[in-house]
Symmetry: none
Subunit: 203 residues, 4 copies
DNA sequence: CATGAATGAGGCTTCATTCAT
DNA sequence: GATGAATGAAGCCTCATTCAT
């Protein structure tokens, strides 16, 4: 009785070889989910691209949805980390926003597949989808609130502001990076708007 | 050995009875696609809810994707019309924005299912998805540009601005209407941000 | 109670209009069965080509197989009649054969669809298929037997001979008329073989 | 949104078990196609008779048509091989004909299902159908031509002759073996006709 | 004599998952 | 750790046929 059904595909400790295989599956899934979409991707597609047998998949993930979740969690982690790093040295919030947006655009450009994955989560695992956005919004709002207290930006509802900024990044990222294949949207122009709003210049 | 299909569910002229059946199918699909998502909805689900036999579906739509398309096109039409009407009497662009956002929130509140449908299009019919957003952005940008020329709002890239505003509406609509079930997000607060931007109040 | 189910699609007497509709259905079926094959043809295809509503079909034929049968019977009649006429003036059997083969080729050329229809009968209605060939063979054999008695051709098993000649016509018709689109296979060369057989010329 | 198919039932290398399953499917298909015909046979019929689940079918053949093709190709191979072997020792073409016809009749008797399969190809896969007959005719004609050059049979169009002889075999095979269930049509009588033709004995 | 909307059974195919080796 | 053959449920779609008008 080498192994019971119960612990299959769970987070057992993996040896080096196992870890490598798991990574190959993740990479394959990232590419195919990002390209064709979750529902047009079969487990067989993933294993084929990863170069392993179908059965192998279930040694690492209990179901197809689980690898998707792992990917979203990974994305969440990577994106927050990269943003963190990019905005580290910012003098104030406005500069942090510019750096953050820049970093986001670069991320989308480099990881277009990963980026496209969350967008599908709404109809794959809605709880995960909300988790992703709310976690991101929470961290974002906190930073904005701090900046407000430091007087770096106008005082307003930090939560609402976080969602607005996320919406802006997402839509412009989609439009200018994903679709236009411009590797760099003009973050400066964006910042103008963010800074000054719609109101016409006085005088 | 070409197809066999005599005249499948395309735009035949429909009698009153046919039109009613088609509408029942559309209504059913709207609800179920919006609730469970396109890929978790079977044609059988739709016809069951519509109260017709499965085969009847194909009298009105050639494939499952086609009813989805029809729904998106319908949504596009309704939403643009409602916004148009809502902003008709606006004195200037800023007021139009407030009225438009308000109308959008109301729309999402009343038609949450319809609203959730476009969001799936990215992985059902990407061309349609782009069509939807680009058409909307184009119209929006045109209005913004006019307003810039009239001096009602700051001069900037109207296209970029349109996408920003769409992102804001979409994300706040999702967050405050769809998820929070608040039937009215605070459009006024949103407008503050839009009007004045992030920059701290002078003085 | 205008009409019971029982007599639907039966050989009721038809008025002129009805007769015309029935003929249109037959013509349409002949073309489509001949082109795409019985199993790739839907009743809807037939009615569409005939320009009538689907339901109308069942006013004239009880099932889809029935119109196929009607077509085969029609073909049987026409072909035997044409052969009859063509061979009328033949001086002897050899001449009759030549004229008959000629007529057959012309028939195939003119009615390629009709010709292709019997060939499908084997797997649509096997009894009909056998009926068709056996009826044809019987008539043919009788004529051959008479000719043997008159000393016009060698004496042998007339039945076997009939099947051989039918096989020859069918295969050469298929090869030279149906596929090569030659409107006239060389019946003369065929006759040489039929007359003298394989045996090398003496001397 | 391209296909999802990872590696469907194509010519993978098969282990012994796989090979056995594939063969069981072929055998089952041969019998049922031969009996009920391609269009009255469902994939479920085949798998049921083979004793495997429906899904298993698609591990070995991409579509229902493909197993049909495989069968025809198999038939083509077997029949040509058997004929080859049977006519090996023939002294001249006339003897080869007799031996060949004999072998053909035996083949039909033993493999009636296989034999009935090609006949359906005309309306399942017409290209395959032509391929089958033209390949056979080509090989046949070459042999006949050689025999003519050696003076063993009369000189005439070898292609035309090949088709005549194929027609004769097919029709008599159908009539005497398939329908009459005679396990041996009288190949000798047939040969008489082939040898001497229709012309009455001189003198 | 004709229409066309409706039916529902049935077929092909896909695919997540299991399991013996 | 890995394989790949097998499963069977489920989904999309077609089509012969019926029936109310």
């Amino acid at each position: 009785m080498s192994e019971t059904v119960a612990d299959r595909g769970k987070d057992r400790a993996l040896g080096a070889k196992g870890e490598a295989t798991r990574q190959r599956l993740m990479d394959a899934a990232e590419e195919i989910f990002g390209t064709k979409g979750f529902y047009h991707t079969s487990v067989g597609d993933i294993t084929a691209k990863a170069g392993v047998a179908q059965g192998t998949f279930y040694l690492y993930f209990p179901t197809k949805v689980d690898i998707f979740r792992a990917l979203v969690e990974h994305l969440s982690h990577v994106l927050r980390t990269e943003t963190e790093v990019a905005t580290q040295g910012a003098r104030d919030r406005l500069e942090a926003e510019r750096l953050g947006i820049d970093a986001f655009f670069k991320f989308v450009h480099r990881h277009r597949n990963l980026y496209r994955i969350v967008r599908q989560a709404e109809f794959v695992d809605e709880a995960l989808y909300k988790w992703y956005y709310e976690r991101m919004a929470r961290g974002y709002a906190r930073k904005l609130q701090d900046a407000m207290q430091r007087g770096e930006i106008r005082t307003m509802d930090p939560d609402l502001l976080a969602w607005c900024l996320m919406g802006i990044s997402d839509y412009t990222g989609m439009r200018y990076i994903l679709w236009k294949e411009e590797n760099q949207a003009d973050a400066a122009k964006l910042l103008d708007f963010l800074t000054a709003g719609l109101a016409p210049e006085k005088g």
